[in-house]
Amino acid sequence: MTDALTLTNLSGRHGQLQAVKGVSLRLAAKEVLAVIGANGAGKTTLMRMISGLHPAAEGEILLHGAPVTSLPAHARLKAGIALSPEGRRLFGDMTVAENLQIAAENGRKGDWSMATVCDALPQLTALLHRPAGGLSGGQRQAVAIARALISNPSVMLLDEVSLGLSPAAVEGLYQSLETLRGHVTLILVEQDLTRAMAFCSRLICMAEGKLELDGPPATLTRQQITDAYFGIHKAKEPSHA
């Protein structure tokens, strides 16, 4: 069976800085992947490269076996990759319904519609006719997730899901995300390690642009994760034996 998403030796730059260094990854359909790492590890750049916002300096991205590396972001959405970006990036002067309508009009046809998205994220129903610029952080994140979802993606990227939100808002969002499990391949960047490990079926850790750790959370020890998070390479430590 073809992987939902395949990254092969993917690298990305910000000018002279190489933010992502040779990341290779294969993701099965409906898998839930959490990406963790310290600030500057390359997580957001990786999300932006997969979504088409940031060009890949090297490497290849395959969506269900088809190359999408050269496609711009709007074409990747139509191919089935949607990103809920860091900072939410809603259209503040437009209503919540209009924010969703744009993605619905330009995305793929499928089961997700205004009604089904509101079923998955019930807090949206009361917000549909309000300007997106006046919403709270948790509400804005819910709209950003809904906007990605309504385009009927096969791979959905969620960058910094819980950043800046209250614990209650985060709890509500993750309850909603549970309803997406099994419907779409999910990649989420999460700073809250406990939350990430509880939610995902697979976890990767990035440090200095590289993929340092990859596996199901149940098989990873806290020490392994800590070492990977801070880019500590055990094999390179001098032996005192």
Partner: protein
């Protein structure tokens, strides 16, 4: 006094159409097209050429001119402005200054330097008027222009709020990168906006040629009027553009009551007063004096207030 007020309001329709294109380019494509007035003149002279040289009727000449101007706007965005925008903040400004100069001299070479008008080709419409109670006369042409302006801006407003293209355009104006994450191709939308903006400039030029005279060098003054109406009414709002155009027209008409020489000056003074007031509002918001306010103005050009 009432007569001047009515004439000013009617004149405001012309200014609103002229300003709407400039505002649209600024809001969506994110740069000031300093050749906007020259494009308006090109529209006027093109329509006149179609009527005088090809013998077309005025309505048909207007339709052909507007379609041609829309195509020109699309092509300029595709082949000139997109490349200029990639060069940073200064390059588009220099590009449109150069484009304006090239248009002025190109029109001078093709059409000559004499003043020209469509007035002679629209029959009694150029001078016919209606008498209102109180002995006030209003010209039929200014009324038709004002009604056309309201209809055009109304149609544009409906397009922006009720259609998929309009939503894509507003989204691109707000945040082009986020729009692309919603499946919108920002470059395609910006080309569409440029087509509409240049067609509006052409319509304003035709309006001017009907009610007065134009020369190949009338563009810079039209640009100033458009810029003033945009600033007075507020950038990014079609309703504001209409109101800004009307205020400018009324102030010029009332100024002419005092002295014909200060008609234009009165408009400039109101523009400066409104600009000063907006700067002081921004300064108060930023709590940092006029330098910070100026910086805020240049970093928040669209209706959303989102930083560019």
């Amino acid at each position: 006094m009432l007569d001047s007020l009515i004439q000013g309001i009617l004149l405001g329709g012309y200014y609103a159409v002229l300003a709407a294109g400039l505002s649209l380019m600024f809001g969506v494509v994110r740069f000031i097209n300093l050749a906007h007035g020259d494009m308006a003149v090109l529209g006027a002279l093109s329509a006149l050429w179609l009527v005088q040289s090809l013998g077309l009727g005025v309505p048909l000449a207007i339709v052909i001119t507007l379609l041609g101007m829309a195509a020109l706007g699309w092509l300029m965005q595709r082949f000139i402005f997109e490349r200029a925008l990639a060069g940073g903040f200064l390059v588009p400004i220099l590009t449109t200054i150069g484009l304006g100069a090239a248009l002025q001299n190109g029109m001078f070479a093709v059409f000559g330097s004499n003043t020209k008008s469509l007035g002679a080709h629209i029959g009694s419409l150029s001078w016919a008027s209606w008498q209102l109670p109180g002995g006030i006369y209003v010209g039929q042409l200014p009324v038709y222009m004002f009604v056309t302006a309201v209809l055009v801006l109304g149609a544009l407003h409906l397009t922006l709020t009720r259609t998929a293209f309009g939503r894509a355009l507003r989204a691109t104006s707000s945040d082009a990168e986020a729009a692309s994450l919603c499946g919108v191709d920002p470059r395609r939308v910006q080309r569409g906006a440029a087509a509409i903006a240049v067609a509006l400039a052409g319509l304003a030029g035709i309006f001017l040629a009907m009610r007065a005279q134009v020369t190949p060098f009338s563009g810079p003054m039209m640009l100033i009027f458009a810029f003033e109406a945009v600033v007075i009414g507020g950038i990014g709002s079609l309703r504001g553009t209409l109101i800004g155009g009307i205020i400018l027209g009324v102030v010029q008409s009332l100024g002419a009551l005092l002295s014909p020489q200060i008609s234009i000056l009165a408009g400039h003074l109101v523009f400066l007063a409104v600009l000063g007031w907006r700067l002081s509002q921004l300064a108060a918001a930023e709590r940092g004096g006029w330098r910070l306010a100026l910086r805020a103005l240049t970093h928040k050009p669209d209706v959303t207030g989102r930083k560019a």
